[in-house]
């Protein structure tokens, strides 16, 4: 292991102090990323901590492979989530991982609370506490990014992490925006920043990471680079981006539409990856160290309402999840309208996915008369009505009045207050991702440690099973997803993008680590993945989580998937098996 990785930069916002801790113990055991962050969370987050209190730590961690191997492009954040009240974990691309690693640290931990708004400028291994009062309350997160870009050094090898108004006002699903258009998106890291009066963190990297075995490293790098650039995945995600999923999911009837009242539009949606690429695509971007460039920017050209021949040009980053949440879930007909909604959540710093599901719930609840215009402040949400949704997004971010304040806590809180739990699409308090593929997806959403589709990717397993006509038992499904989630803990400890999961099998990872002077056998890696997953589960149990009795939204089991309706009892049996695996009674580790 190089000398920089085990260094943990600690920051106390209350006392405006920083120091460096050497933690080879953590990095030798857990590699980096998620494997280290979960241990720091166990250490530093007191049991029962208020997620918006000064005691909640913000932990950012990178791993040994960042940015030394292709697609080792991600950074991991851990914290206690103000949205679910439990484990907060979010991954981000952009330059976050490269900057933190080349700043000479394996992890950054921020605790305490500043009395006045500040931002952290981390250059040459030192932390400056800079006044952010002039940035606080700015209407657009994009402006914050531009100002910091112009005022801070380190261009070309830095990350600019910042929050928008939603984070300042503690919307529980506010995000942190990195560079432009990448995010620590889910579970409310933006609100944790806001609660600490922390507007932004700028990190620049200038160190050289020594490589113990350069010939071996260079040879393996070239092999992985060639495999990555020649792969189908490269073509698929480079050409259309993650938006390429919209069309096939729609075709098989797995794209949630109008709060999952349907799983399809009468015709093809206007915002498939193909249509967006043809009509709107303006530029592709990559995360540092990744050849794929899956980030797709649309150019939205809008005529000025008053001035003839005057156009406003906006760049909007689109991905599958925002297109689902702010597109199909809201029954949007026009691609331009979907792009406008995505731009609005970017400006305010809201998680796109959660915001879309919240608006979908609110639309259905309004139609059913659970509340009226008195609560909504005169707005009448209806499917496909972009103008109303834009105004609702603004009010959620501003936290205007009781109704929008509650919407700013997600559908679990909103349905507890106004009713409509049966169609409040959340799992463990986190809003549903854009895949209604079958029992695998539902089990991932329920049992995944972040309640994210990416935890164990049941949506992929469902599609494979559908093609093969295979129907696993609940116990088989639980075991397969447990293994997948455990495997992914290693990727998120290195930290490699999940898109590269096919590239980085345990043997390849073992070889890559060896070139960096870290000896781990494939078997050891497999076991470590299980251990990290169980440590995450242990944190959740410590904070009051129970898989047994976890609410399953009625809508999710009523709406047919491509393989039919999923029985609740099937999911309960799978959850019991999953609990057994996570508790470690099976001897797998």
């Amino acid at each position: 292991m190089d000398k920089y990785l085990p260094r943990v930069l600690r920051v106390d916002l209350t006392k405006k102090r920083f120091w460096v801790e050497e933690r080879p113990d953590l990095f030798e055991r857990g590699l980096g990323g998620a494997g280290v962050a979960i241990e720091l969370l166990h250490e530093l987050c007191p049991k029962g901590a208020d997620p918006l209190g000064p005691e909640n730590p913000i932990i950012l961690a990178v791993g040994p492979l960042n940015p030394l191997f292709p697609l080792a492009s991600k950074a991991v954040a851990m914290f206690k989530s103000p949205h679910t009240g439990n484990l907060g974990e979010s991954h981000c691309g952009g330059r976050a991982a490269l900057a933190l690693r080349l700043a000479g640290f394996g992890a950054l931990v921020i605790q305490g609370r500043s009395e006045v708004p500040v931002y952290l400028a981390i250059h040459r291994g030192r932390v400056q506490f800079r006044d952010a009062r002039a940035l606080w309350g700015l209407s657009s997160s994009l402006t914050v990014g531009r100002v910091l870009r112009e005022n801070e050094p380190g261009a070309g090898a830095r990350t600019i992490l910042r929050i928008g108004r939603a984070g300042e006002r503690l919307v529980t699903y506010a995000n942190v925006i990195a560079e432009t258009y990448r995010h620590f998106g889910r579970l409310g890291l933006g609100a944790v920043f806001g609660s600490k009066n922390l507007k932004a963190v700028v990190i620049s990297g200038t160190v050289t990471v020594p490589i113990p075995d350069p010939p071996r490293y260079q040879k393996l790098y070239r092999e992985l680079w060639e495999r990555a650039t020649r792969s189908d995945l490269m073509r698929k995600y480079h050409d259309l981006g993650t938006a390429q999923n919209i069309r096939p999911l729609h075709e098989i009837g797995a794209l949630p539409v109008r709060n999952l009242l349907a799983t399809g539009f009468p015709g093809e949606p206007s915002f498939t990856g193909e249509k967006l690429a043809q009509e709107f695509l303006g530029r592709r971007l990559a995360c540092s160290a990744c050849p794929v460039a899956c980030i797709h920017l649309a150019i939205l050209r809008e005529p000025h309402p008053a001035e003839p021949y005057f156009y406003k040009t906006t760049f909007v980053s689109y991905d599958h999840e925002p297109l689902y949440a702010l597109g199909s879930m809201l029954g949007m007909e026009r691609a331009e309208d979907v792009l406008k909604l995505i731009d609005a959540v970017e400006v305010f710093g809201l998680d796109a996915l959660t915001t879309g599901v919240v608006l979908a719930w609110a639309t259905e609840a309004f139609e059913r008369g659970l509340f009226g215009e008195g609560e909504t402040g005169g707005l009448r949400p209806s499917w496909g009505n972009a103008a109303v949704y834009l105004e609702m997004i603004r009010r959620i971010a501003q936290r205007e009045g009781e109704f929008y304040y509650v919407l700013g806590q997600g559908v679990r809180a909103a349905s507890a207050r106004y009713g409509g739990e049966e169609f409040a699409l959340h799992f463990g308090g986190n809003e549903m991702p854009g895949y209604h593929t079958g029992p695998g997806a539902l089990l991932t959403h329920l049992s995944g440690s972040r309640h994210s589709h990416l935890d164990s990717a049941g949506y992929l397993l469902d599609q494979e099973n559908l093609q093969r006509g295979r129907k696993p038992s609940p116990e088989e499904l639980a075991r397969e997803l447990f293994q997948e989630e455990a495997r992914r803990q290693i990727l998120s400890s290195l930290v490699v993008c999940f898109f590269a999961r096919g590239l980085y099998d345990f043997g390849t990872i073992s070889g890559a680590l060896a070139a960096l002077g870290i000896e781990r056998t494939p078997e050891e890696l497999e076991n470590l993945g299980i251990q990290i997953l169980r440590r995450k589960y242990a944190f959740k149990v410590r904070e009051g989580f129970e898989l047994d009795g976890l609410p399953i939204p009625q809508r999710a089991v009523e709406a047919p998937t491509p393989s039919g309706r999923v029985e609740e009892e099937f999911l309960r049996r799978a959850l019991r098996e999953m609990a057994r695996l996570l508790e470690g009674e099976d001897g797998m580790a």
Partner: protein, 135 residues
């Protein structure tokens, strides 16, 4: 025929930094500190990128400006003789492209030697080695 590194299609640059990271690997190192090639956005990522690297001037100002003769013209581009360099950074100021990069650890300039390693790792055809006219 000698070849120089050329930025042939900057419009396709996606800011992946694989060129800059490849340059560091020449020395068996990870990172960007000793990379002779850098990527910058043109006032925000929306507007695209510039790849900042030595263009192999026929009459290089960096060589002309060096007070101790540590930079000399080569068949393509220039060569730095670090043992002569006094770290004054005059060469950095002399280059209008900002293509004289600086190794902060060694306090010496880093200038592209036109080996083409970065181009071989550019996934999107932004960089290429091309023959120098009349070279």
């Amino acid at each position: 025929m000698p070849k120089r590194l050329a930025v042939v299609d900057p419009g396709r640059c996606v800011d992946c930094l694989l060129c800059a990271l490849a340059c560091s690997r020449r020395f068996g190192e990870g990172g960007l500190a000793r990379s002779a090639v850098a990527v910058r956005s043109v006032g925000g990522v929306e507007h695209g990128f510039v790849v900042i690297v030595c263009r192999a001037c026929p009459d290089p100002p960096c060589a002309a400006s060096c007070p101790v003769g540590a930079i000399t013209k080569a068949a393509v581009g220039v060569r730095v003789q670090p043992e002569r360099c006094i770290g004054c950074r005059t060469c950095v100021l002399s280059c209008p492209f900002g293509a004289v990069h600086w190794d902060e650890e060694q306090n010496k300039p880093v200038i592209c030697v036109h080996c083409g390693l970065c181009a071989s790792f550019c996934p999107h055809g932004v960089l290429a080695l091309e023959e120098v006219e009349g070279g």
